[in-house]
Symmetry: C2
Subunit: 244 residues, 2 copies
């Protein structure tokens, strides 16, 4: 039973620490960062493509995604984000957003002014390394998504997306890998897998009839992880979670 959220950067620091173990001075510097928190409903834009963000946003509670839109208005989600994720490290270095960041569920966001964060990174080599590793891991995840969307059949794409979501979520200590509630709609899943919502619905049913998972509304229970992993062609190495 987690208590009502405290609005500190605690999860973000824990998440960086998981990526690269921080020292006490690193942690202290991060904890001293000034920030403001805001709350937003689902489907709210936190960053818009083409704008120049001036603060660095971090996800404290709820779920979000990054996406891009074609000139014909088709949306492609390129990553999902969970509490503790830094949502725009890249804008420390690249001043124009090349994609959108949008909420999936209602969220609590921490906004840290860019100069303050930059200073902590510059002054703390370990933090710097953690942030760099985090950016490199993001890139690895994007590569896996290119593969997923480019070369896997529909069932596998959906299964893979589910496996990744669960793996990241439980690695962050945010819930069981066997039983969880999906925060995203089937349309979100469609936009993440390069499919249509109708087909995603059918593929979710297929995963049911193949006996690897059961579903009650958005509550999913994986009943055969090995089967799931096989259908998804899921190998978590690309998440670089493990002991280094």
């Amino acid at each position: 039973m987690t208590p009502k959220h405290e609005n500190t950067l605690h999860e973000v620091i824990a998440s960086l620490d998981r990526i690269y173990p921080l020292g006490s001075s690193d942690r202290a510097a991060l904890e001293a960062l000034p920030f403001e928190t805001t709350e937003h409903p689902a489907h709210f834009y936190l960053v818009r493509e083409g704008t120049q963000p001036t603060a660095c946003c971090m996800l404290l509670q709820g779920y979000a995604c990054r996406h891009k839109i074609t000139s014909t208005g088709e949306r492609q989600i390129v990553s999902f984000h969970i509490p503790g994720d830094m949502l725009d490290v890249q804008h420390l270095e690249l001043d124009r957003a090349d994609h959108n960041v949008q909420t999936i569920t209602p969220v609590t966001i921490a906004w840290v002014p860019k100069p303050d964060l930059q200073q902590v990174i510059d002054a703390n080599p370990t933090v710097r390394t953690a942030v760099l590793r985090s950016a490199l891991i993001d890139a690895s995840i994007f590569r896996e998504w290119v593969l997923n969307v480019g070369r896997r059949e529909a069932v596998s794409r959906v299964a893979h997306m589910l496996c990744e979501f669960v793996a990241r979520r439980s690695a962050a200590g945010l819930g069981s890998p066997d039983c969880f509630r999906l925060p995203m709609t089937q349309e979100d899943i469609a936009d993440a897998t390069g499919l249509t919502p109708v087909h995603v619905n059918r593929m979710l049913q297929t995963l049911g009839t193949r006996g690897v998972m059961t579903r009650d509304k958005r509550d999913v229970r994986i009943v055969d992880w090995e089967g799931m992993r096989r259908i998804a062609d899921f190998n978590p190495a690309y998440l670089h979670l493990g002991p280094r």
Copy 2:
């Protein structure tokens, strides 16, 4: 008329300098890096998924790509690389390769020992920033590829791949944007766009009949850039080339 290649890190340094302007001491530090050069034929593996690279390879001459392979043996190329590109910055921080790096044409490669490169990066903040920016730009390109493969129709995917290749190549001063020779086979293009070689062939013909380019074997001439750009839905902002 370029003279026979000199085997220095010159192109790599120029490429970093384009990403983030270097000072003379940065340049001197990079020029002092020890390295060995090797030559390899087309289709040669420079890095294999799952291995732990001990040197950082850079492309001096020729073309290469990164790719991943599904359990059923389908290849998905996730990026192409041109002379001057650092091919595995990520292995400075992540020790296991999560993808393959393979040559497209015969290449000349410079291998820099990881510790030496790490030291130059640690000692030169500007170099560090340039490398970080380079990694962030790579990530941006991966995101665009997810969109390309996930949400664009076949002609657009092929056109987009061509636009990106030309834009990056001419930004690096490696040739004209209007007229160039493709280093990759139609099978490579297929693996980059998530299509089959047969369909890539048809889409290249379509781009011809739509009057945006002409083709003689692998020599391509773009005759209508605006039309090409429109079919490709190409907006180079994601390459972060421009004046910052």
